[in-house]
Amino acid sequence: MSAPLIGARVQRKEDYRFLTGAGQYTDDVSMQGQTYASFVRSPHAHAVIKKISIEKALKSPGVIRIFVGKDLADAKVGGLPCGWLITDVKGQPMKEPPFPCLAQGKVRHVGEKVAVVIAETQDQAQDAAELVKVDYEALPAVVDPKKASSSKPIHESAPDNVCYIWSIGEKAKIDEAFKGAAHVTRLEFLNNRLIPNAIEPRAANAQYSRSGEDYTLYVASQNPHVERLLMTAFVLGLPESKVRVVAPDVGGGFGSKIYLYGEDVVVTWASKQINRPVKWTAERSESFLSDAHGRDHVTVAELAMDKDGKFLAMRVITTANMGAYLSTFASCIPTILYATLLAGQYTTPLIYCEVTAVFTNTAPVDAYRGAGRPEATYVVERLVETAAREMKIDPAGIRRKNFIREFPYQTPVALQYDTGNYEATLKAAQRLADVSGFEKRKADSLKKNKLRGLGYACYIEACGIAPSNVAGSLGARAGLFEAGEVRVHPTGTVTVFTGSHAHGQGHETTFAQVVADRLGLGMEQVEVVHGDTSKVLFGMGTYGSRSIAVGGTAIVKALDKVVAKGKKIAAHLMEAAESDIEYDRGVFKVAGTDKKKTFGEVAFAAYVPHNYPLDKLEPGLNENAFYDPANFTFPAGTYVCEVEIDRDTGKTEIASFIAVDDFGKIINPMIVEGQVHGGLTQGIGQALTEGCQYDKSGQLLTGSFGDYCIPRASDVPSFQLDTRETACTHNPLGVKGCGEAGAIGAPAAVMNAITDALGVRDLAMPATAQTVWKNLQENRHARI
């Protein structure tokens, strides 16, 4: 009998290979006859392409071929599809302008791909790319989403640059509720645009095989099956069987590697044209310019309350920047994954949200860690904190007054929360934060010429978008289930195949823990395989903190089938009735007797079926399952942040950060803590240091780590973490997901603390030292 592995701090199986440089990333893959691609990218944010001259570049040493947009169009290579159809307020479909893999006659953002040069070496490809001469006729560009609709059209099919106007809630009823309110809190803010910056840049390496007439694409992707589906069915017009997509070790994604990108298509298509493998690995500068960015909302938010601070209604009007093109899931982020979260942890009975999605001459914007939910949490938690200050109610008290306390709870914005205990996480966080000692700490800080502030954020997130039929009715063009396979080998070791994809999360350990625990095996007997469409039966990949809740459950379903079949085999071996067989941690037993067969013995019998019920049962022990969840899962928690601001320089230090999360059942607390640390750091980054900036002409000003500041370890405190648990009610593991929580809750907690310290209503993110210093100058004599 082994100790339970679910809930254990098992060291990560994958770390030895990562830490010793044995990981195999896409750029590590080199094939016979390897060639290298370099993309010629637009220096203009908006321009007509008058002429592309490639003659000089073709003569450059080592050049094999150069392709431009026309070559793709002539070969009938399609544009990139959008995976979610939003229907607007008038019942019309959103505008879906073509998204070519190489520009067709026009460029719409700096960094858009105009041509690709393929050469014998990377340097030769880059040298030649510099010689491709493109004549542009520059057009006026628009960067500011608020100015998009009055600017020159970016796409013919969207003359006012509006992709859609979408809403949820009954506006008239809510307007009425605002009229009767005792107090209304109103805030206007930007949710700053972020650049993802996975440690491994995007990369793709494709090979065409003349013998199999098929392709193999290695790609840094979060979801290889979706990549294959989109590329074959919508872009290249090939059967899925002709493209194998392998996403080997992948160094982070944060959403930015969910999508099908033009580069992936171009190298795949080109590998057949030149009949040699073609590799492209993004330079960091290319990542800044061309990875899908995140956030970028302009919002006016209002909260109506009665005289006691009870929430009556919320009204949120948002303009969301889509960038120049609709990336794969761009359209659902500021709608389905944003407006539906505006109830937060509260019983606000009436909520209206209207979202205008616009095109601008900037890189496409799509899901980035949290995807819509950080924006929603920021709206709710900044409003709630500000309301408490305005009404002179304790910020925790106003939250308590409005907490949802009975579950299941139907929100006014479509979601039904299955379970939660918001009081428990708030209480635990307050205790850890020593809230009662704050005034003393504040006085001590002031003696050092520092301003101290405290802020809360009580976040909720929805993970594992589901079920597929509901998502479909809301516009999803893909299923949202997950697949898993448990292959038991003759000696009783197990290989598990999952359609989820790990790119830093540690699935090889977490999933192995689930399997080893449920089957009663050792960790070393379980291998987890993911990321290869030729090995894994199917998958929807990893995003939206869905892997354990959806992918893990698919594996559990397959495990259940393995055990069920094992019981049949064991019953035969022990000459007992199947109904009398019990399975307990690696052993099949006949109930009430001491007869038993180990898992290994049963597996062996399944593959060496000499004593086996062949007339009733197929040999082998190999089961798969598809799992489509009945509902989202709803992790939630309370974060408390304390900041200290240097009055001389404006620099903010995070003095302490407490995070108490409810992720349901936790498989590996150590891995979960790592996920929370990373998420919090990214959330603190959004609040303090990160802000993508374009100038008015659409040039990216924050195009390198010299100007775009992702937080370092020294920028964050030693986090104090704790958890409370309410098990998810609709999956067998009781799990909810933990990948995004930190990034969702942290920005509001930090900004609530900073505005508290400064005594101001609002401050724009990122609250850099300069921003805070300016605010200190401006408000020197006018504190509230």
Partner: protein, 265 residues
């Protein structure tokens, strides 16, 4: 990166001889700026003359009243030198604040000074301490060395061989870092030579400069209050995403104040 010819001379004399006539050649010191620029294809020298194996350029000599640092001495070696720590602790501390650990083990004193990056740390010490720069041709006074944005008094083919820093009575360097690059938004080196105070400022202008008002006030009275009383004018200071001229002007006073406080400790 564009292709280039690589040379590895054994002496500084050979290095200077090699560069003669090659107008687009560059000396390669630690490569922490040049190689980055080449990778970004912003710089494309025809030839790189690597100074990395020239032993005579890498040495630290401390005499009674000066610390002489060979041009190829790595930042980490200056930061870790007990002799420098004893003679001019502020200089060792400055070297220990440059970039990150990897940068400090490659970057060199001479390379930093020759590059005259407006936000580099060493130039603040060169001016603050009134150093003398020895080259393959001559000696150059600190005040005549930095001439503008990435511009110095060095002539084509002229090679820095060492830098001599006079030992002050007390000194300190304070830097307010750019959150992204960790270069100085403002760095202030304050050195008191017994009644005569020099203040070198980096990060704030086109190149490092001396701040006369602070020098005058601190020469009269070397106190935190004296520094705090100086309001620096923002005119001509750098303006970028991270700091306006007004913010930089303000930070010069704040960093000077903190440097004086540290020097007095």
């Amino acid at each position: 990166m564009h292709a280039f010819e690589y040379h590895r001379p054994a002496s500084s004399k050979d290095a200077v001889a090699l560069i003669k006539g090659k107008t687009e050649a560059r000396f390669l010191a630690g490569g922490q700026s040049l190689v980055q620029a080449m990778k970004l294809r912003l710089s494309s020298p025809t030839d790189l003359i690597d100074l990395g194996t020239i032993k005579e350029l890498s040495a630290i000599k401390v005499s009674g009243n000066a610390v002489e640092i060979g041009a190829m001495t790595r930042h980490a070696d200056v930061a870790g030198s007990s002799a420098v720590q004893k003679a001019i602790p502020a200089l060792a501390a400055l070297a220990g604040m440059i970039g990150d650990r990897q940068v400090r083990h490659m970057g060199t004193c001479g390379g930093s000074i020759a590059n005259s990056d407006p936000a580099a740390d060493y130039p603040a010490a060169v001016l603050g301490l009134g150093a003398t720069i020895t080259t393959s041709k001559r000696k150059i006074e600190a005040d005549k060395f930095f001439t503008g944005l990435y511009e110095t008094a060095l002539e084509p083919g002229e090679l820095i061989t060492s830098v001599s820093f006079p030992v002050p009575k007390r000194a300190a360097y304070m830097k307010f870092k750019n959150p992204a690059s960790r270069f100085a938004i403002v760095g202030v080196f304050v050195a008191d030579f017994g009644g005569k105070v020099r203040v070198g400022v980096t990060g704030a202008g086109a190149s490092a400069f001396r701040q006369a008002d602070l020098e005058k006030a601190l020469s009269a009275k070397f106190t935190v209050e004296a520094a705090a009383a100086i309001k620096v004018k923002p005119d001509g200071l750098n303006n970028d995403l991270h700091a306006s001229p007004e913010y930089r002007a303000h930070l010069i006073t704040v960093m000077a104040k903190r440097a004086v406080e540290a020097a007095l400790k």
